[in-house]
Symmetry: C2
Amino acid sequence: MQRAQDGDAGQAVEEALHPLDAATQLTWTGDGFTGLMTRSYWNFAGPYGGLTAALLMRALMQHPERRGDPIALTVNYCATIAEGPLRIRLRAARTNRSTQHWFLELAQGDDAPAITATAICSARPETWSHRPAQPPSLPPEAELVRFPWEKSPCAWMARYDVRLDRYTPLAPQPLPEPVAGAQTGLMRDEPPRPLDFVSLAAFADCFFARVFVARGTLMPVGTISMTTWFHATAEALARQGAAPLIGHADTRVYNHGYHDQSAELWSQDGTLLATSHQLVYFRDPPVRPA
Amino acid sequence: MQRAQDGDAGQAVEEALHPLDAATQLTWTGDGFTGLMTRSYWNFAGPYGGLTAALLMRALMQHPERRGDPIALTVNYCATIAEGPLRIRLRAARTNRSTQHWFLELAQGDDAPAITATAICSARPETWSHRPAQPPSLPPEAELVRFPWEKSPCAWMARYDVRLDRYTPLAPQPLPEPVAGAQTGLMRDEPPRPLDFVSLAAFADCFFARVFVARGTLMPVGTISMTTWFHATAEALARQGAAPLIGHADTRVYNHGYHDQSAELWSQDGTLLATSHQLVYFRDPPVRPA
């Protein structure tokens, strides 16, 4: 599938757009963008957090004053986003010789911002390099488990093909003892789509809340803040093309209503494309009758 | 040393303040705070990044509308801060039932912001908890190495007592091959000071740039963005008191002028108090005559 060329608007082209491109279409307004939230990447009560990150990244990439590649994006999920029109305001808070710092807000109607975010762009010069981190090891592809997405009520799950080294079946009650939260897997857009900063920003959130994995049950959760760093240049992303990423996520601590989650996104050729750290809100699941 | 009581202004009390409290004194202006940057925590060309984080945390803690404990702080270092007056503007971008999202800026004179930041506060209810991460292991205290702070031109180093499991002596030229960037150590304020969110925000930056460690030399560096998550309640911090924290930092990848750094800050009783992730700008050192 091809992304629409500039100026090729119209229904026929709309239908040819990849769902991620369709969901992140924005219109420039002079001081930001307007867009439309649909249910194409819907989660339980609002959009998939990765789609929101992708929308902000799209705004950044399309801003006429952007200089260099994105290197950092922090998204704060302040409130639920509803279906319907949205607007993104963004400004370069400070532009230096090597870096450009952005502040972004996403809002709907007259409400206070649902999202605040900061981003950083920079030239990526050739420098000394050293890559001590090693890609996670994966079992043979045939042993990976595709989560039973077709049973999910969440539309965003059908937008990805994710095959994991292990997963905890979700039961009505939590496990008596928690299991490991770590998971490693192959992840791609469904249908496949060439990697760019927009989709990489979305992949950063493409892991279940670790507390679901550790406890083997659903409960009220939500990403509160997610910081993603882009370690690769636009050229390195282009080399990856539409092949699956290798993703890994784990958590250090679950307590007092929040847990951390750190994720790595690797290319097929063993390049660490992005790392992402998020703070997740959780509350104990309601106790259901046996 | 005691912190000044409210209303106990004056030179005698100023002198009794811990250096961190003196350096983070702020005056409320109705929509933010004013403060004064001195050289007491000076780094090479501006203040220690941890002091800047502490200043923002102080502003947040003193804001009359703050609700709950800080759980997240992202600081974007957009430009160098100079000696002299500074002002911090902050506003609650959105307050929900459980979380409060803040946007902060630090500026001087008529310049664009030198710092942009976001922070999140929340109640920390008792919930299910699980703490899979284990504290880093440390050699016996007698084997730890205190960096030769007294030789440093950087004032902030004298404000901390940091004893590390290993360090790379800094030479005029880089090592022929990089060594591990990981370090673990005991870290406390000098003089000792009871832990609170202000000092914990500062400790998050209390590691050398990993690229100094890996290459064994100095070079142009700077923290570009630092995200810290506070996993502990104010009560847990109070239990730690003025005892040294156990800190650990490491890096996954150094390339294209930036490297990541992830740090953990543990209490003496094995509680993960905070995790912090930062993106560090670096450039190759100038080649000096042999």
